[in-house]
């Protein structure tokens, strides 16, 4: 197979961490490859989450997590401008409904101030309800954090991937890492499509990151998956929510998070449940019922009948792996690790592993990427900044966001932008063709959905899927029957053989 070559660094995993790590390495003029098991980037942990850009008040002072969150949040507008990504800095309200919650807000206010989070304020009920009428009047206090925002996780990850690719990173899709070996002063990364030689490895394999690390070295951290359910509500409901709402429950346990997304929807969730395995993305009755009950209590006016989709996300929870020197048996620490773990073992210089990066991983992905690149600098001989590196990524056209004049001009150049395909999200044929032509381009219906929004609206693709399949088939030079929804085997349609009555 053709997937061989020599690189300065190989990034394993094309999620948001991997794509930003690749971008950071490109910034230093290094030859980078990203090995991704699936047909597209952003298909694992990065694909489904709460879409929040955190501010850094709810983690302990002095930790890497806090430092990166605070720094990332401050510069997030700049990052999104550079990458052409929509970012809605809507602010957040952490809402308490009794004494326990209120104490917790006071603690977080103190902690946030110590962490350097700006603009935090404790509000009384009247102030809270004036800012956020969607909240139940039973709210007692709220911690307002104007810096919190929301971003589309796919858009962010795709932007990073496109920008890395534009700066020379090779995105090796459908390339699964099967082995890792030290080889001289570097590594051999064995994949199902050939062997990659490199000097450094950045392991961003998400749910599989511990297994990838253990291809090379002793267990350090192991992942235990949990999952959480979410509701997505239609855009009229979205107009009722102005802030990210974090519900601080009175009883010990999980609260509710309510997010007004950049697309104008509302995201409600997540619940927290055990996952059967690392790929368990099934929603559960208990989880959805739990969210429904909490929503009735926290945001009672929110119309759950406007639900257009429910989904579940898996989270990689890191646990310390303790190896018994006598038996070699691995046991896990009692508690999950709260801090971001950047794993480097002595016997593997030139390898950085991110194992069990969860919240606020989306917020910090780009900082973690830069962090990894910086850690590898000495090993890679202190590469300087590459003057040819271009941090800007031209954003794809969204016709729904264009002014009438701009749209008219665009259609004059390419009439495909005048042919509407997805009514709900106002996506045109031009946008879908462009999604397939970008690098990395959409190769599945989900790929089109994440890039353009087609099929993500209130009819959930019931009207546009056929057009999307046929357009994508044209762009890929394939038959419609070969166009899949997402992962391998997720076929949508086949050609009819005449085998009827």
């Amino acid at each position: 197979m053709g997937t061989t070559g020599h690189f300065d660094a190989v990034v394993i995993g094309g999620g948001v961490l991997g794509c930003f790590a690749a971008r950071a390495l490109c910034r230093r003029g290094l030859r980078v490859a990203v090995a991704e098991r699936r047909e597209d980037v952003c298909t694992g942990v990065s694909r489904a989450n709460t879409a929040i850009v955190y501010a850094g008040y709810d983690t302990h002072p002095g930790t890497l997590k806090t430092r990166l969150t605070v720094a990332s949040n401050r510069q997030f507008d700049g990052l999104c401008r550079e990458l052409g990504v929509r970012f809605r800095r809507c602010g957040s309200l952490m809402a308490a409904f009794g004494p326990r919650g209120t104490r917790s807000l006071e603690d977080k206010l103190r902690q946030g101030r110590e962490n350097g989070v700006e603009g935090l304020r404790l509000l009384d009920r009247a102030e809270t309800l004036a800012l956020e009428p969607a909240l139940s009047p039973a709210v007692e206090r709220a911690l307002w954090c104007p810096g919190v925002g929301t971003v589309d996780p796919w858009e962010l990850c795709l932007a990073a991937a496109e920008n890395a690719a534009a700066n020379g990173a090779e995105l090796l899709l459908r390339t699964e890492v099967t082995g890792l070996r030290r080889q001289g002063e570097g590594y051999e990364v064995e994949t199902d499509r050939g062997t990659l030689r490199c000097r450094a490895v950045v392991n961003c394999a998400g749910m599989q990151a511990d297994r990838v690390a253990e291809l090379l070295h002793r267990p350090t951290i192991r992942i235990v998956p949990t999952k959480g359910d979410y509701f997505v509500l239609d855009t009229p409901a979205g107009e009722l929510v102005r802030h990210v709402i974090f519900h601080e429950p009175e009883e010990k346990g999980k609260g509710l998070t309510v997010v007004p997304t950049v697309d104008g929807n509302v995201l409600l969730g997540p619940s927290e449940e055990a996952a059967r395995d690392r790929d368990d993305r099934a929603t559960e009755r208990e989880g959805l019922d739990f969210l429904r009950a909490l929503a009735a209590q926290v945001v009672p006016g929110l119309p759950l009948e406007q639900t257009i989709r429910t989904f579940a996300a898996v989270r990689p929870n890191p646990y310390e792996a303790l190896t018994d020197p006598a038996t070699g048996e691995v046991t896990l620490s009692h508690k999950s690790i709260g801090e971001f773990m950047v794993t480097r073992v002595e016997e593997c210089p030139g390898m950085v592993s991110f194992i069990g990066v969860k919240t606020p991983g989306l917020t910090c992905a780009w900082q973690l990427g830069e962090h990894a690149a910086a850690l590898l600098e000495p090993w890679l001989g202190h590469p300087g900044p590459d003057p040819a590196f271009r941090p800007e990524r031209p954003a794809p056209v969204r016709t729904a966001a264009l002014a009438p004049g701009e749209l008219a001009e665009l259609i004059a150049r390419d009439p495909a932008y005048g042919r509407l395909v997805c009514r709900c999200r106002r996506v045109t044929e031009g946008e879908i063709r462009d999604a397939a032509r970008r690098v990395p381009g959409a190769v599945t219906v989900d790929g089109v959905k994440y890039r353009t929004g087609a099929g993500m609206g209130r009819c959930q693709g019931s009207r546009c899927t056929q057009r999307v399949v046929e357009l994508l088939a044209q762009e890929l030079g394939a038959g419609p029957g070969q166009v899949e929804k997402g992962e391998p085997g997720s076929w949508l349609v086949r050609r009819t053989e005449d085998d009827g009555v």
Binding site: A282, T307, I411, G418, R463, Q466, V501
Partner: protein, 432 residues
């Protein structure tokens, strides 16, 4: 900026009827805008019979019904634009249109009829847990993929919801040689018309599971099965590779979102399914035509149009008892039985008695199907109801026939395929 008297948004049955009504009542400078490349709305994918019974007194198929309306429209001066998607309705009758040929246009009209039809409630809106694999379709989407796309969407489908579209899709799948595993209905009785329950499910032996619902999906990449909660509370796993949901239509009212919470402006008139969901196209069209006429008169100084609409049919008849059968001649679904002195009781009209007598001898039904001719999907129909036993031979003859474009509406493509005295005709013009 071009000014019209009336702009009709949507070229489906209601939109066409509204434009026709308005023109007939004297409106001029009438524009009809359709998002797709052709008129008809969902009618072209509805290749089954059952349209036009009230309006034309005939058993028309969707494409035939659409063609009649379009032909009438052609004889008027109504301006028709296809590939024209309305993006926005604004103050004073301003209509923003995205056109595949002309770019972005802003038009104005003294009155605007919104006939954007309906959208289907997606599976995502339902309380169904489990995975999110490929293979979950809405009934209208399934109909589009099967009839217009010519695709196979699954070998063993489960249909959720016993609405009319769901049952019609069930029959289509059975005719394609892939009868669905079951139709699952949450309510204790069938949701659609009795005639559809009989013709589409019972006569094809497709089980209808009442007081049951799909609770969970299984399968990672493609659907592998669904969990069904039955009336007695037990959960059954039904292996299947497609789930087709027919769980209700919602008025396509997104162009009305900017006006919600307030009274609609006086120039804006929703009609057809965009206003409320109708059970029959004929009724939606009749209401729309009336609205069109009233708007035309109002534009000339008459009273403001009424905004109320006609009532639906009476609820479907319960299942037939011993010795009874449901009349399939029209949506009324009269319950027929033998009357005194060899007569028939229960018939609401003269058709019922003849139907009852025919059923005693032999069941005859309309057969419609779609074949692919040089890459174009061509809907066909029998010229009269045929014995059920002939469905197989006639369908096979249709699929074997060597056909070439162009084909015209009404053209006989297979003469007497069942040796019984009925032909197969093309439903609509299929140019080369």
């Amino acid at each position: 900026m071009t000014a019209y008297e009336l702009i009709v948004v949507g070229g489906g049955p209601a939109g066409m009827a509204a434009a026709l009504g308005a023109w007939d009542a004297g409106a001029r400078r009438v524009l009809l805008l359709e998002q797709a490349g052709r008129l008809g709305g969902v009618l072209p994918q509805c290749v089954h019979t059952g349209f036009g019974l009230y309006e034309y007194g005939e058993e028309l198929t969707g494409p035939e019904y659409a063609a009649r309306q379009a032909a009438r429209l052609k004889r008027t001066g109504v301006e028709v634009r296809t590939n024209a998607a309305v993006l926005e309705l604004g103050a004073g009758g301003r209509v923003t249109v995205l056109s595949g040929t002309e770019g972005l246009m802003t038009l104005t009209a003294r009155a605007v009829v919104l006939a954007a039809g309906a959208r289907e409630r997606p599976a995502g809106a339902l309380p169904i847990t489990g995975t999110r694999p490929a293979g979950v379709f809405t009934a209208g989407q399934a109909q589009q993929l099967l009839n217009l796309g010519g695709y196979d969407i699954g070998r063993r489908a489960v249909i959720l919801g016993s609405g009319d579209i769901g049952m019609i899709v069930a029959r289509r799948l059975a005719l394609e040689g892939r009868p669905p595993v079951a139709v699952v209905e949450q309510a204790p009785r069938c949701g659609g018309l009795a005639r559809n329950r009989v013709q589409c499910l019972e006569e094809f032996g497709i089980p209808l599971l009442l007081s049951s619902t799909v609770t969970r999906l299984s399968g990672k990449a493609r659907l592998e099965g669904v969990w069904v909660r039955r009336e007695d509370g037990r959960a059954d796993f039904l292996p299947c590779d497609a789930l087709i949901t027919s769980v209700g239509l919602l008025p396509e009212d997104e162009l009305l979102l900017p006006f919600r919470g307030a009274e609609l402006p006086g120039w804006l008139f929703p009609c057809g399914n965009a206003r409320r969901i109708y059970d029959l196209v004929d009724r939606a069209a009749a209401d729309a035509a009336r609205l069109g006429r009233e708007i035309a008169r109002w534009l000339r100084g008459g009273p403001p149009p009424r905004r109320e609409a006609a009532e639906d049919s009476a609820p479907a008849a319960p299942g037939p008892g011993a010795g009874e059968l449901i009349c399939l001649c029209c949506p009324a679904g009269c319950l027929l039985s033998a009357g005194p002195e060899g007569g028939v009781t229960g018939a609401g009209c003269e058709k019922g008695e003849a139907f009852y007598r025919q059923e005693q001898v032999e069941r005859r039904r309309w057969l419609t199907l779609v074949v692919t001719v040089q890459g174009v999907r061509v809907p066909l129909r029998t010229t009269r109801p045929i014995p059920r036993a002939l469905f197989g031979p006639v369908a096979r003859a249709a699929r074997r026939a060597a056909l070439f474009l162009p084909l015209g509406a009404g053209q006989i493509v297979v003469a007497d395929p069942g040796d019984w005295g009925c032909d197969l005709a093309v439903q609509c013009d299929c140019p080369g």
